[in-house]
């Protein structure tokens, strides 16, 4: 995804104004705002606006339909439903793109929603690509180096960060070993190993991008992205991976709004209840454990309050968190945002007209 910060801010502002109940275009009075109510309101209108956006993008690109990677998660389920409502099931193509470490439920739920919507779909496993690049082997070596007691026949693994609200610890990643659904070890990753691990894991999302474009070009379709605003603000996507798409219908919708859309669109309850995850570890690792470090309804309220420059008292009333925790969380979010600017920004271009 390549989004310039100021453009995003402008889009967000105009979106919030357009959804405000007074409808006057004047700035809302945020002093008594109930953030979750605000995010859960006017969802029917939001769905229509997003469908209009999708149509504008696809027709603007002169494409005949939409290709979508269907992960079994809530974002792609909502995107698929909206695309089908806008273009009809004949002009939408679903791709299930699992790999060896994907949860079996991802494929099952992805297939189920495609079938429920009557969408043509295909399974294209990417494990052969990942294997050919030696990704699984290299990942095993890093895990073994980090946790010497690791036994691939015994343990499942995940990458986690400490809970922010309860522990207040630094953003230091650990490998977790799980045996019989119980955590049996947590080992701190060294910087070089962490960087290599991220580079290896990101090949999965980048391989999915390649597959989606292979089908999109064959069908003369556009690739629909599923990154939401919470993920965008936190840099929770892979540059040229799941961020490598033709348009992003949810990049101005908080995750909370995706849940509201899912309920409004009557998405399968099992998909709605499933904890969101990048699904790239042998032990199913939720986004709360690695990215948000707090429940999503808290994270979204903090992001919203920060975006709208709400006084800390308003954030306190909404989240129920003490002032110092909110201020720490905002500083943490600022750091994450700064560290992930590089992921969001389009490659800077040198313009010859700028030369002196």
């Amino acid at each position: 995804m390549q989004i310039v910060g100021s453009r995003l801010a402008k889009t967000t502002e105009s979106h919030v104004k357009s959804l405000s109940k007074n409808g006057t275009g004047r700035p809302m009075d945020y002093s008594n705002v109930q953030i979750l109510n605000e995010l859960n309101s006017d969802i029917d209108e939001l769905a229509e606006m997003i469908k209009g956006f999708i149509r504008d993008q696809v027709t603007g690109f002169k494409k005949k339909g939409v290709v979508l990677g269907v992960s079994g998660g809530i974002d792609s389920a909502v995107a698929l439903t909206l695309c089908v409502q806008e273009f009809g099931k004949e002009n939408v193509y679903g791709l299930l793109i699992p790999e060896k470490e994907s949860a079996p439920s991802s494929k099952a739920l992805g297939a189920e929603i495609c079938e429920n919507l009557g969408v043509s779909y295909e399974e294209v496993p990417i494990s052969p690509i990942i294997e050919a690049l030696g990704i699984y082997e290299k990942k095993e070596q890093i895990i073994k180096r980090t946790c010497p007691e690791y036994d691939s026949g015994v343990h499942k693994t995940s990458l986690v960060l400490p809970d922010f609200l309860n522990q207040g610890l630094l953003n230091v990643p650990h490998i977790r070993l799980i045996k019989d659904e119980k955590t049996v070890a947590r080992c701190r990753l060294k910087a070089n190993d962490y960087l290599e691990l991220v580079s290896l894991q990101n090949v999965k999302q980048r391989s999915r991008m390649i597959i989606q474009y292979m089908y999109a070009e064959k069908l003369n379709y556009a690739v629909c992205g599923t990154t939401n605003k919470t993920e965008l603000m936190l840099g929770q996507f892979v540059k040229y991976g799941d961020g490598g798409v033709d348009f992003e219908p949810f990049a101005d919708c908080y995750k909370t709004q995706i849940y509201a859309l899912a309920k409004y669109l009557k998405v399968n309850e099992e998909i709605i209840k499933r904890p969101p995850s990048a699904d790239t570890w042998s032990h199913y690792t939720s986004d709360e454990e690695f990215y948000w470090r707090m429940p999503i309804h808290i994270m979204d309220q903090l992001l919203y309050a920060q975006e709208h420059k709400l006084p800390v008292e308003v954030a306190e009333k909404n989240t129920g968190l003490p002032r110092d925790t909110i201020e720490k969380a905002w500083r943490h979010i600022d750091k994450v945002r700064d560290a992930t600017d590089y992921v969001r920004i389009a490659p800077p271009v040198y313009y010859m007209s700028c030369k002196k």
Partner: protein, 81 residues
């Protein structure tokens, strides 16, 4: 204490976004001054563990212990005893 602080300062000048000419107070925030980012922090933790042959327990990986020269120096002094 002073030796440890100078050692960390040298490390930061050679390996972080800190300019060589820049001076910082013992209590200045390393993150808010743009000296350390998230990866820089992981590298600093690795350096401290190796240089002083210590293991840092997870519950000591706090902003208070790592966001200033004073915090880092105190942490190393405690663990290297």
């Amino acid at each position: 204490m002073e030796q440890i602080k100078n050692d960390i300062l040298d490390y930061l000048k050679n390996n972080s976004f800190m300019e060589r000419e820049k001076t910082i107070d013992d209590s200045d925030s390393l993150t808010q001054n743009g000296i350390l980012d998230s990866i820089g922090l992981l590298e600093l933790i690795d350096y401290i563990c190796e240089r002083y042959s210590i293991e840092i327990p997870e519950d000591m990986l706090t902003p208070e212990n790592f966001d200033s020269l004073r915090g880092i120096t105190n942490l190393i002094t405690r663990l290297a005893k």
